[in-house]
Amino acid sequence: MLGLSKKDLMFLMIVTALTLAAPILLNPFPESSALAQFNAGYPDLMQRIAIFAIFAVGFNILFGLTGYLSFGHAAFVGVGSYATIWMFKLLSMNILPGILLSVTLGGIFAYLIGFVSLRRSGIYFSILTLAFAQMCFNLAYSVLTPLTNGESGLQPELSDPRILDAARAGGTVATPNLFGLGMNATWKVEALGRVFQFNAGYYVCGVISVLMFYLALRIFRSPFGMMLRAIKSNQHRLNYTGLNSRPYMLTAFVISGMYAGLAGGLLAAMDPLAGPDRMQWTASGEVVLMTILGGTGTLLGPVLGAGFIKYFENIFSKINDTVLHSWFSFLPKWLEDICVAIIHPFVGQGWNLTLGVLFMGVVIFLPGGLIEGGQRIGRLWRRKPGGNGAPSAKNAAAE
């Protein structure tokens, strides 16, 4: 079914189920408990995880399969975001035109940049993509201000033409919607001492990300995917067989650019503001971190990496000293202070330190990322990792 093997189908079903149930699964702790701090089941974070998963999965099609390390993919995210906001301003607050345009523009920009950058390989390729992306960022920040509104960021305003939407009474800008379904529409359910938030925007992102995951799965299993892996293992040998590898590379680059454009479009659709910072090289670096942390070249790895980093960024950064003291309040005062002093540098403002240490640890000890870690633990426990996605991911990694 769906052109997948039985194992892959199972894998896809599980990913789908996890995505749909995320608002419940990510809220494991009751509101009243001290651990509620760690709940991640609120719309903004879930949307971000889904969107960055799309971005990372797309990036992985390029980096994981061909080994070409691009440091400029954030530019496509930015282009997608600006495209979507412009559609909001000109056409309609319906997210569909914006998202279609963002994918198209992401693809076009990727074609142009890829066409030039792919003339070089190795670090030269990385620097070329970096240079192009930084150019986009710097221009968006300065002379393209009429298009991007510079540092302040572009957002829909009341005075925009918006030719398809009738002017809404009440003098507020409508929220981005999908045929009337507002992206911020949330249905809250209080149950078992928890508040579950089922948010329309999240489900839009979630469904799209599952589709994109499926597409990536098909690409991984296709002859085209095989060709890309051949490029990674030895491009020279491939060229000597008489095959021109560049069209394959360019296709992979454009596909991953479209994924990035889509991610940018969705970001703007969930929160209608596009700032230039999402194009900066550090944003490109972030997707590299996600992919590697999760597991390069595996299907599920980038998704895990995206979830992991976004979770840390949003949850760990909020743990301040007051929270820490409340955790250790059962200890004697002096012991409490010591515990807080030890943990303090790694949470709150210091979450980047935790991330850096983890990242180094992964690169040093687990070159296969979290996925490899999971497999090692699985082997350690001598339990067959039944159906948690690891088997097929392992197949992919082994090739």
């Binding site: 080994g67 390390l69 030039v116 003339r119 070089r120 390989s121 190795g122 670090i123 030269y124 620097i127 070329l128 970096l130 240079a131 192009f132 930084q134 150019m135 710097n138 221009l139 920040y141 300065s142 002379v143 393209l144 020279h236 090289w281 550090t282 670096g285 590299v288 590697i292 540098p345 403002q349 210091g350 980047n352 330190l353 991330l355 850096g356 240490v357 990242f359 180094m360 690169v363 040093i364 070159p367």
Partner: protein, 343 residues
């Protein structure tokens, strides 16, 4: 004419920082074959050596002066640096005033140790791993280093002034016979440029005229053969890593009066210095230096009002445009060798 002269000076001074960082990067890459993304962080640590020196010299004891009141109306507390108490007020004040140049003495040993520890402790294990892994682990290290500095010194820039005698500006126009006041440039920035020339000259003569340098150069050209001759090239290379760190660190110390150091300054320079290295040619020391000054000068020309009115936004992108043009026309950079980093 004046404007061009001014921007040339400005470019040389911007280029000094690029060249010094790129020189260190190339030393590491040329000798050890490692792409070190933590090099910007090393530059930043150098700058914080200057801050630490300043803080050390300012260690003070407190006395209460009941005749004066502070802003809350309580008796005023007065801080007196120990150094003024020990060496007398004038000598102490002079030492405080010259804290940045003094910090060079602190930075040199500290940075060599930092470099050698980095190499022995972490990077040594990555010689046999792919370049991508080296980039990633050093990138992680850069994050960790800058976060540690942030925890200690905070996120805000810390002003670290130059000695008063060197803080003003020189009227170069008047010196070379132009109209007075036409070409005025800050003294410290000129000193920074001279300093970078001295360091660059020092590194080159060290490699050129000492036996140690000769062996290192031989090792850069053909590591295996040198190893077969019974020379412990690894040890020498690890000293080179320390040297590269020292170059970046000293560049950081001297940079502090130009710009108040903050924990993030390394990342800001990292991307640019990588572009410089690649434009110069991976592994080529003269290439790195030349490209550093070249890009610095072109960046300054790009920010001239006349140029900007012709090509809006050019000042923001000129470095990247040049990088792209160079890489497409000269794949190995200006002075690069064949076969470096192409697989």
């Amino acid at each position: 004419m004046d404007a061009i002269l001014l921007q040339t000076l400005n470019g040389l001074d911007k280029g000094s920082a690029y060249a010094l960082i790129a020189l260190g990067l190339t030393l590491i890459f040329g000798t050890l074959g490692v792409v070190n993304f933590a090099h910007g962080a090393v530059f930043m640590i150098g700058a914080f050596c200057a801050v630490s020196m300043n803080r050390l010299l300012h260690l003070s004891y407190m006395t209460v002066d009941p005749t004066k009141k502070d802003f809350l109306g309580n008796p005023m507390k007065i801080q007196t640096p120990y150094i003024e108490a020990w060496f007398g007020h004038d000598t102490g004040a002079a030492l405080l005033n010259w804290s940045v140049p003094l910090a060079l003495l602190l930075a040199l040993p500290v940075m060599i140790v930092v470099g050698v520890v980095m190499e022995r402790g972490l990077i040594k294990h990555f010689y046999k791993r792919p370049h991508a892994d080296q980039i990633l682990v050093t990138f992680g290290l850069a994050i960790v280093l800058q976060e540690i500095v942030k925890q200690i010194f905070g996120a805000n820039p810390i002003p670290t002034p130059a000695p008063h005698a060197l803080a003003g500006a020189l009227d170069l126009g008047a010196m070379i016979g132009l109209k007075a006041g036409a070409v005025v440039y800050p003294t410290w920035r000129m000193i920074y440029f001279l300093f970078s020339l001295i360091v660059i000259g020092g590194v080159f003569s060290f490699l050129q005229f000492t036996t140690f340098g000769m062996v290192v150069r031989a090792g850069m050209a053909d590591r295996e053969t040198v190893g077969l001759l019974g020379i412990n090239i690894d040890k020498r290379f690890s000293i080179m890593f320390g040297l590269a760190a020292a170059v970046a660190g000293l560049a950081g110390v001297m940079y502090t009066p130009i710009n108040a150091p903050n924990y993030h300054m390394g990342m800001d320079f990292l991307v640019l210095s990588f572009v410089v290295v690649v434009v110069g040619g991976m592994g080529s020391l003269p290439g790195a230096v030349a490209a550093g000054f070249l890009l610095g000068i072109l960046e300054s020309y790009g920010s001239m009002n006349a140029v900007k009115s012709l090509l809006p936004g050019i000042d923001q992108i000129i470095i990247y445009v040049i990088a792209i043009v160079v890489l497409l026309t000269r794949p190995r950079g200006l002075m690069g060798r064949k076969g470096v980093m192409e697989d």
